[in-house]
Amino acid sequence: MAKETEAAAGAWGLSLLGWLVPGAGHVGQGYVWRGVLVGATVWFLYVLGVMLGGHFYSLFDRSEGLLSNVFGFCNLGSGLIYLASMWLGVGVEDQARLETAEYGNIFLMVAGLINYLLALDAFDLKVGRKH
């Protein structure tokens, strides 16, 4: 029983790590190349999203009604990337004048959603549901 609790705690810890740093949840379990590859895709989507003129939504943003909160939740999935960007002011300005700004927003949101998926995958790997 204590062993199971310990394994679950480890899985939650790795999942949290994976959310904070994309791919780290996999790297921390020895799946180095898998972690690097999927982490790189999140970073790539983030960089491209910002370059295209996308911006992060705050969790408490109400500029587009309730949808803004949903967008903010999607963006939060990027973990430290999101928190650091909000803190440093990178990619937080709405650049609607750019024709690719909407694409940029989608790239940023999908980066966050994929990172949620990766964090859950790291959890599954740790508890032995996957290999």
């Binding site: 895709t41 999908v110 990766l118 996957k130």
Partner: protein, 55 residues
Amino acid sequence: MKHFLLMVLFAAVVAIPFGVVGREGAQDKLRYGLKVFIEFLGVGLALAWLLYFIP
């Protein structure tokens, strides 16, 4: 053309983690990643044509 290339790039980049997470075994991962990539493109093009006829 720029929009289409962005769609292809998006489909390719998103298909990678889907392939990695969605299946087990290298060959199954690759096959599933390719399937997701093609599906993204197919649905994107189908929606584009559909929306073309909607004013």
